[in-house]
Structures are given as structure tokens and as C-alpha cells.
């Protein structure tokens, strides 16, 4: 089968033999100049600074969320060098109250929304991926046109209201459920799956559903993971739709609660008296809310990054 799919059989082993340790530099081609010390140092410095600019702010947020009131008061606010670690801020937030509820809401909307979006997008992408099928050009054009002209905020708002979606979680999912761009990415991967494979399944009597679930999807795991991450991040990060379609404060997702607590410095509702007893700094609470919002994304995205790269470079077809 590999020969038909056009993957050169010997490629993988030679690559591995060439690169023994991932930290070491691979051998230089003979024609390339020797790297100069100054150039190496400059490159390292630039790279280090770029990474530091991203990591340092996150560091102080995470560290401050893990400190006691005493340490925070001594530092006069944000803490750069930690003194011990305490989880009281998280204990406080995750044992009932506004933030716990908001976190659960966000998780629920993200999980349900991502599953729904993926189902709709994968089906649509596969439906459009077999060239020459009836009407696929028209359907594609209909989808593509939306990338050029947005309907505008006000008509969308009026529509969501007229459909009776306000103050329901459907208002957070349905209007943003389909991303045409994501469908196009999935579609282009599905189209790159070898036609032989699909044809042979069809000859064996498999219908389109079976082909999609047994052949196309298993071969597209990498791109499916990437697109699922895109959707999930979209739902997790969304706050605007909640701010205009939800009026009930108890329904608000985490991002909106973060605006209230951290940006507008409001006191969280429903916390016990620990803040007043001097154990827990309000700043630690705020930073803990931020960590809750960034943790799932920070943990998940590096895993999928590997997939993303693999997907970009080798395509979906593998024997």
C-alpha cells in the first residue's frame, strides 16, 4: 500500500540516523560558512528575549496566585520571586461561588460547542471534498462569500433576539458554530487523501458515511486535532456574545467573570471570609482567576502544535 500512496519507504530511517540528539545541531552542509560566535550570540539573545517577553508576565501571574497575603504585602503587590507555595486562592475559588460556577459554564460551553462545531464542519468538509459531486461548487461559493462580507453586529444581534436565543447558552454556540475557514482547511486535507483508497472502499461496498468514519477521519487525526483546538479556544476565549446576549449574571462564563474581578477590580461574590482573616490576598484571587483561564490553553496547545507541524509538512496521507 505504501508504494501506491507515494511515500518513499527509506525516508524515515535516514532522517533519524542523521539527527542523533534533538538538542544537538545537525551536521552543516560543506558549502555553508562556519557560524560566527557573535552571530550565534546575537541570535540566542534575540530568541531568548522574545521568549522572555512572553513568559515573564505569565510567570508573575502564576507565582503571585500561589503566595500568601504576607508575601504579597511584603512585595508591595505582584511577586517575582516566590516564597513557598500555597493553594488557598484556588481552594477558595473552587469550593463554590461565582468563579467555580463560571468555570463550569465555560467548560460546558467549550465541550458542547466544540463537539457540535466539529460534527458540522467535518460533515460539511467531507461532503464538499469529492470533486465533481452535485452542487458542491454552489455550496462552496455560498460558504466562501461569507468571508468577504460580514452581516454586521446589529442585524446579527436583532436576529439572535428574534430567534429567542437571548439568555440561553445556545446564543454562545450557534452564531459562531461554523467557521468557513476551518471547513476549508479540513476539506483540503480530505481532498488530499488518496482517491485509490476511497475508491477501493467504495468497490467493497462502503457508503459515504462508512468511508468518512473508517477511512477519512482516521487518516486525518492531526488536522482534526488542530481544528478542534481552534474551535475549543474560540469557545473558551469568547466573552463578547455572553456580554450582549446574556443578562443573568449567574450564567456568565469565566472570561466575563474575569473582566469583572480582575479588570474592574470587583469583589468576588460568594467567597468565605478568608480574605478578611488575613490569610488570602485579593490580588492572589485575581491572579488565580487568570491562571484558571490560561491553564487549559497553555497545557493543550503545545501538544497540538506538534500535530499542526506534522499536518502542515507531511499532509494527511500516510501508508
Amino acid at each position: 500500500m505504501t508504494a501506491v500512496l507515494g511515500t518513499p519507504a527509506g525516508e524515515q530511517p535516514t532522517k533519524k540516523a542523521k539527527r542523533p540528539s534533538p538538542w544537538a545541531a545537525p551536521p552543516r552542509p560543506v558549502w555553508e560558512e562556519k557560524p560566527s560566535g557573535a552571530g550565534q550570540a546575537g541570535k540566542g539573545l534575540a530568541l531568548g528575549l522574545a521568549c522572555l517577553a512572553i513568559l515573564f508576565p505569565l510567570w508573575i501571574v502564576v507565582v503571585t496566585s500561589l503566595q500568601t497575603k504576607k508575601t504579597i504585602d511584603e512585595a508591595g503587590g505582584l511577586v517575582v520571586i516566590p516564597k513557598g507555595v500555597t493553594f488557598i486562592a484556588y481552594q477558595e475559588l473552587l469550593t463554590g461561588g461565582q468563579v467555580q460556577r463560571a468555570t463550569l459554564v465555560s467548560i460546558g460551553v467549550t465541550v458542547v460547542g466544540t463537539l457540535f462545531s466539529m460534527a458540522v464542519s467535518v460533515l460539511c468538509a467531507y461532503g464538499l471534498s469529492r470533486s465533481g459531486s452535485l452542487g458542491h461548487r454552489w455550496i462552496l461559493m455560498t460558504l466562501l462569500a461569507t468571508m468577504f462580507f460580514g452581516a454586521g453586529l446589529i442585524p446579527t444581534y436583532l436576529l439572535v433576539q428574534a430567534l429567542g436565543l437571548t439568555d440561553t447558552y445556545l446564543a454562545l454556540i450557534l452564531p459562531s458554530a461554523v467557521s468557513v475557514f476551518n471547513i476549508l482547511v479540513l476539506r483540503s486535507f480530505f481532498m488530499n487523501i488518496s482517491q485509490e483508497l476511497i475508491d477501493s472502499a467504495r468497490i467493497d461496498g462502503a457508503g459515504d458515511w462508512r468511508i468518512l468514519f473508517r477511512i477519512v477521519l482516521p487518516l486525518s487525526r492531526a488536522v482534526v486535532a488542530v481544528i478542534a483546538l481552534f474551535y475549543a479556544v474560540g469557545y473558551w476565549s469568547a466573552w463578547f456574545n455572553a456580554s450582549i446576549y446574556l443578562t443573568d449574571q449567574d450564567m456568565m462564563p469565566l472570561q466575563n467573570v474575569m473582566i469583572q474581578l480582575v479588570q474592574k477590580q470587583e469583589r468576588p461574590v460568594g467567597l468565605s471570609a478568608q480574605i478578611n482573616t488575613g490569610q488570602l490576598s485579593p490580588l492572589a484571587i485575581q491572579m488565580a482567576v487568570m491562571v484558571l483561564a490560561l491553564l487549559p490553553v497553555a497545557v493543550l496547545s503545545p501538544f497540538v502544535q506538534k500535530h499542526f507541524k506534522k499536518g502542515m509538512l507531511t499532509g494527511a496521507v500516510k501508508g
Partner: protein, 368 residues
């Protein structure tokens, strides 16, 4: 996207030979019967399917009814997405008619029914908008932010991609990429609050200054530096992510070119100038076209989040202007008219940017 796929129109012969071995486990109970390669020509539906899929032209000869029977599953699969797009992207376009009305949502129980009962007033809303100095102020802010981002933000991903591309140790490269991609996945709420912790009145810089006896400051509420702050936030969030497309373009450059250039005596920098940068040109052109076409959108969520802290004068752009008048002040017709202006001008910008790209010999967003 030029991965190795066998051309579709050669499928017939090859599949016929292949199918016996391929039929092993995927066949299922139904597939065993008369679907051997030899049986195909005898069944019009099956053979139509094959030739139709194999080359687009052959399918034109089939009857519509036959094609529908063949492809109904595929069409059915697109229905959910199509419905969602029709309802949430196309129906609201019609809703833009409220821009030509004096829309009153309380005329009916249902907001959409109220459209039919609201009085038509022609272009009155547009006249009101053009007479409003706040609108022109928002337009001005939009363009200032757009140009600032174009000049200060746009080159950074290119430079970062060149930097990353010159790193040869695979693990160093992967780790640096993972860190740089990370902020792209953060929400704007998070990015703005993170910036508050650094540059805000209670941020780490102001806090350190105060501890050493200097006066603190609050960049987050300073209207003068706000436009640079917004640009810095955009760079922090998305510049790392932006390198992906450039890296993909760079990885497709053949090493032979570099070797040949080195043989001809081209040094490091001349190789970059004569090989690497030309390889990036189409991508740069495409991204520029996309950015210019989207010029009127300059970070709606990001600006909305900081609107209160920094004040309207510095942060109002077209999108937030629409939001303020429509959602906040419930002046729907007025805001819809402003949104429509933005939509139409935006469409014109996309088409113009593409035209210019075509004139310059680049591909743009769509082909000529």
C-alpha cells in the same frame, strides 16, 4: 498544498487491480457480492459514480436525477453547516434594511416582525452619521491604528520567522516555537489583564519604581500612548503565531538553491536577500492584501475591553462606535447604518487590494 496524490483520472485501471486485496476487512457484509471490477460497467449507477468523481467533466453528461441519487449523502452532509451559515450569515444581511428605517423594536413581540412595521426613512440615518463628528473621530482612530499596526506589527513575524528558520537545533526550535505560539491562544481578556499587571497603575513596573522612590505611572489609562499600547498587545498576542505561514514558505525552498548560490560565492546575507526573501514574497503579498482588505477591523474586542479605562476619545473605532450606538444606546437603525458603511467600504477594500495584487503579478486572495 502540493502533496503527492495520484491524479484522479487514472483511478479506473488501478483500482480494478487493487480491489481484491483491499477488500479484506473494510468490506463488511454487503461488499462481498457482485462488485468485482468486471461487474462495474453493467451497473449504470456505480459506473456513473466512478467516472463522475474521476473527472469533473464526465459528470456533466449525467442526468440531474442520477447525479442527485449518487451524491445525495454528500449533499445531505453539508446541510447542517449550510443551514447555520444561511441563518447566521445570510439572513442578517437582509436585516441591514433597518439602516433605511426608523426601527423600533417595541412595535412587535418579535424583533424581526418589528422590521416590517417600522417606518421607512430612506437615507436619513446616513445623513445623521455623516454629520456626527464622533463618527469621523472613530474613522480617524481606525485608520491611525491600522497604519500603526501595519508599520510596527507586520514586519515582526517575518523577522521572527527568519530568526527561527536560522536555528538548526531541532529541539531548541520546537521549544521556541511552542512558547511563541502560546499567546495566540489566550483570550483578549487575558491579554489585556496581563498587560495591566505589567504596565498598569498596580503593575510590576510602576510597583518597582515606587519601591525605589520614583513616581509610578499607569500606561493603561494614558490616551496618548494608547495606540502604541494596543499595537504592543497585538504584537505580544499574535506575532509569534504569524510566523507559521512564513516558516511553511521557507521550508519549501530547495536547499539546492542555497548550495548553488554558495558555490557562486554568495555569502549568508546575499543568500537571504536573493533566495529567502523572494521565496517569501507571495506570502507577504497575500498577507498584505488580506490585512488591507480588513483595514477597518482593528481589534474590536481588544478595544472594547479597554474603552472604559482609557476613554472614548482614544479608543473609539468604527466597530466600537456601532456597538455603543446600537447595543448600548439601542439606536439600532443608526448603528446598523454605520455598520453597513463599514461593510460596504470593507468589501470595496478587499476587491481593490486584490486588484492591485493582480496588477503587481501576485495571486491575491482569489485567482483572476
Amino acid at each position: 498544498m502540493s502533496h503527492s496524490t495520484v491524479p484522479r483520472n487514472t483511478t479506473g485501471a488501478q483500482t480494478a487491480e487493487q480491489s481484491p486485496e483491499g477488500s479484506g476487512d473494510a468490506a463488511g457484509p454487503r461488499g462481498r457480492g457482485g462488485k468485482k471490477p468486471g461487474g462495474r460497467p453493467g451497473r449504470p449507477r456505480r459506473s456513473g459514480k466512478r467516472s463522475g468523481r474521476a473527472s469533473g467533466e464526465a459528470s456533466g453528461k449525467l442526468g440531474l436525477k442520477l447525479r442527485f441519487r449518487r451524491d445525495r449523502t454528500l449533499v445531505l452532509m453539508t446541510v447542517p453547516a449550510l443551514l447555520l451559515v444561511l441563518v447566521f450569515n445570510y439572513v442578517p444581511i437582509l436585516g441591514n434594511v433597518v439602516a433605511f428605517q426608523d426601527y423600533d423594536p417595541y412595535l412587535s413581540e418579535n424583533g424581526f416582525v418589528a422590521i416590517f412595521e417600522s417606518p421607512w426613512i430612506g437615507f436619513e440615518q446616513f445623513e445623521r452619521i455623516f454629520a456626527d463628528s464622533a463618527f469621523w473621530h472613530a474613522v480617524q482612530n481606525t485608520f491611525v491604528l491600522f497604519f500603526l499596526q501595519l508599520v510596527l506589527y507586520f514586519p515582526i513575524p517575518i523577522l521572527l520567522a527568519l530568526l527561527i528558520n536560522s536555528v538548526v537545533r531541532p529541539r531548541v526550535r520546537a521549544v521556541a516555537q511552542a512558547i511563541m505560539y502560546l499567546p495566540h491562544f489566550f483570550s483578549w481578556v487575558l491579554v489585556v489583564t496581563v498587560f495591566m499587571q505589567i504596565f498598569g497603575g498596580a503593575g510590576i513596573i510602576a510597583q518597582t519604581l515606587r519601591r525605589h522612590g520614583y513616581e509610578g505611572f499607569d500606561l493603561m489609562t494614558d490616551p496618548e500612548v494608547f495606540k502604541y499600547l494596543v499595537t504592543a498587545e497585538t504584537v505580544w498576542k499574535d506575532a509569534g503565531w504569524g510566523i507559521i505561514v512564513f516558516l511553511a514558505a521557507l521550508s519549501s525552498v530547495s536547499n539546492d538553491l542555497y548550495e548553488a548560490a554558495a558555490m557562486d560565492g554568495a555569502g549568508r546575507w546575499r543568500r537571504m536577500w536573493h533566495i529567502t526573501l523572494p521565496a517569501l514574497r507571495p506570502v507577504i503579498a497575500l498577507l498584505l492584501v488580506l490585512r488591507v482588505g480588513d483595514a477597518l477591523t482593528v481589534g474590536f474586542e481588544q478595544l472594547l475591553l479597554q474603552r472604559q479605562a482609557v476613554g472614548v476619545a482614544a479608543s473609539e473605532v468604527l466597530d466600537t462606535y456601532v456597538w455603543w450606538n446600537g447595543i448600548r444606546n439601542q439606536d439600532f437603525s443608526y448603528a446598523a447604518a454605520a455598520g453597513l458603511i463599514k461593510g460596504v467600504v470593507g468589501l470595496a477594500l478587499v476587491l481593490t487590494a486584490n486588484k492591485v495584487a493582480h496588477l503587481m503579478g501576485e495571486q491575491g486572495v482569489y485567482k483572476k
